[in-house]
């Protein structure tokens, strides 16, 4: 998401950020830019595609991986978290991430000025990467779905043991302390990592590293599930996980190709990359299983798909198709290693591998973007003088995101722990969170 242009900030924001205010005022007096209906239509489509990734995509993907007694709890936490994130987004999230005004001294981290979307009307527009604009409401909605799915992704690390009330409180605080600032840093004009030249086309840093690292911290704060790792906890429905995987893959085209903010050639590049990196990731995981002496499994295929999708996210418009394939394969292999070897060795309970796949896949993708931006017929649209310079910038951005997410989540997690409490009672955990937290069960048999 960087081509020497302001990303996402509304035209109002753009004019305020420009040093020559007089020119901006003259520009404002000229005819206001009008959104191209074609781009607008594509962005509205992309936005609802991302929505499909949350409900039902992620809900089925994660839900199928839990035990049947926690199916509804997992899906409800995802749905409710996303719904809450949407409301928070229009109240203060958009303002903090992409608001039109700079905060004195803090403009590298947050913005302000459009609380309750006060500055947005059907006539206002948001800049894209060329001289085009899209309707600001569309941009606000598109970015809203990113905030919603990122908050929901974290729950993969905490499934089967976190209180519903804790999930809700955590979501509000975490979005405010962690997500909005990171989104601003990476994607908004004036943001720390944006100005540094970090490439993150569709959210490898903002969404996946952020969610994965936050999930890991929260998993440590929560503690292991009762019985983990001695009791068997196999997924209760890989059928639904496979359905969820398919919905995620389809929705991801909105995620990645939508992040171009226009229906142009770079959206097309992001689209083909989202096909091929994912295909490579899915198969690479199965090959890895075979090499490790097992059978190529359905869950392995699904896991590799997600690893490939995650890895290509930051690179979607910054890599050629073969670079994307390489990213998909590397991410899949490293994620396999993390999930199958490192996690058991370290003993943390990242229930559904939010960190193992999203966190690690995101790091591989973000750093890898620096390489494939110019290698394997990549478009070379970064700012850096050389490939290794770009890689260096990517590494710094990754480290900043990891540190921010880890420290922010630790603070927020501790606040929740000492107010409403993080974890359900032993009785609820044993009976399942469906009955214990929601009073209903997924399957009546």
């Amino acid at each position: 998401m960087i081509r020497k242009v302001l990303c996402g900030a509304g035209t109002v924001a753009a004019s305020l950020l420009l040093p020559a205010v007089a020119f901006a005022q003259e520009a404002a007096e000229a005819a206001a830019p009008v959104a191209n209906p074609g781009n607008n239509a594509w962005m509205m489509t992309a936005t609802v595609l991302v929505m499909m990734m949350i409900l039902p995509g992620l809900a089925l993907f994660y839900g199928g991986l839990t035990r049947s007694k926690n199916m509804l709890s997992t899906m409800t936490q995802i749905g409710a978290t996303a719904a809450l994130a949407m409301l928070v987004w229009i109240m203060w999230g958009y303002s903090m991430a992409f608001g039109p005004e700079a905060v004195g001294g803090l403009e590298a981290f947050v913005s302000t000025g459009s609380y309750f979307l006060s500055s947005v009307t059907p006539d206002t527009t948001a800049a894209t990467f060329s001289d085009e604009v899209i309707s600001e409401y569309v941009f606000v909605s598109f970015q809203m779905t990113f905030a919603a799915i990122t908050a929901a992704l974290v729950l993969g690390a905490t499934a089967e043991r976190m209180k519903f009330s804790a999930t809700m409180l955590f979501t509000v605080l975490w979005l405010t302390v962690v997500y909005f600032p990171i989104a601003h840093m990476v994607w908004a004009g004036g943001g720390l990592l944006f100005e540094m030249g970090a490439l993150d086309f569709a959210g490898g840093t903002v969404v996946h590293i952020n969610a994965g690292v936050s999930g890991l911290v929260l998993a440590y704060l929560l503690g292991k599930r009762k019985g983990y790792p001695t009791e068997p906890m196999p997924p209760h429905s890989l059928t639904l996980t496979m359905v969820g995987t398919g919905l995620l893959w389809v929705g991801w085209f909105g995620f990645n190709a939508g992040s171009e903010l226009e229906a142009d050639g770079f959206a097309g590049l992001a689209m083909i990359n989202t096909f091929v990196a994912t295909a490579a990731g899915g198969l690479a995981w199965m090959v890895m299983e075979k090499i490790a002496g097992h059978k190529g499994s359905a869950l392995g295929f699904c896991s590799g798909i997600i690893a490939g999708l995650v890895a290509v996210t930051p690179a979607a418009g910054n890599s050629g198709p073969f670079g994307a394939v390489v990213l998909g394969i590397v991410a899949s292999l490293v994620c396999y290693f993390m999930v199958a070897k490192i996690k058991p060795a370290m003993g943390y309970d990242d229930s559904l591998d939010a960190f193992g796949i999203h966190g690690i896949g995101g790091i591989i993708g973000a750093v890898g973007t620096g390489f494939v931006n110019t290698m394997f017929n990549g478009p070379g649209n970064g700012d850096a003088a050389s490939m290794m310079d770009q890689v260096g910038i990517q590494v710094v951005a990754v480290l900043v995101a990891i540190a921010w997410a880890a420290i922010g989540t630790l603070i927020v997690g501790l606040i929740v722990k000492f107010t409403v409490g993080l974890r359900v009672s032993e009785e609820t955990e044993l009976a399942g969170l469906d009955i214990g937290e929601h009073g209903e069960r997924a399957y009546n048999d």
Partner: protein, 112 residues
């Protein structure tokens, strides 16, 4: 009369049924069951986490037969259910005290 219970691999059921049919066996009962013997179950692997499953799916067939036919039945099951692999199953033979055909009230061998 004998009561023959055989635990076999599920995919061998059709073969066993055909072989017994040509032997003149008039009826049998088959059910899907789970259990373990020397095979000790199997292993499932989800994202690298191994779970040993103690119970393996099998098919149990039950046949009531005359004393004359019983040895042939046992031999036929043994031959047709054999795949020379671990977990092929077992055959048990019990003495059967009586049998009644519900519709006609016939008893003994004629009821089979």
């Amino acid at each position: 009369m004998k009561y023959i219970i055989a635990i076999i691999k599920p995919h061998k059921l059709d073969e066993v049924r055909e072989a017994l049919g040509s032997l003149g066996v008039a009826g049998m009962t088959a059910s899907e069951v789970k259990g373990f013997g020397r095979q000790k179950g199997q292993t499932e692997i989800y994202r690298g986490a191994e779970y040993s499953v103690n119970m393996v799916p099998k098919v149990k067939i039950e046949i009531a037969a005359s004393d004359a036919l019983a040895p042939q039945i046992v031999e036929t099951i043994q031959n047709s259910a054999n795949s020379d692999a671990i977990g092929d199953g077992k055959v048990f033979v019990l003495d059967l005290a009586s049998a009644v055909r519900i519709r006609t009230g016939e008893t003994g061998d004629t009821a089979l």
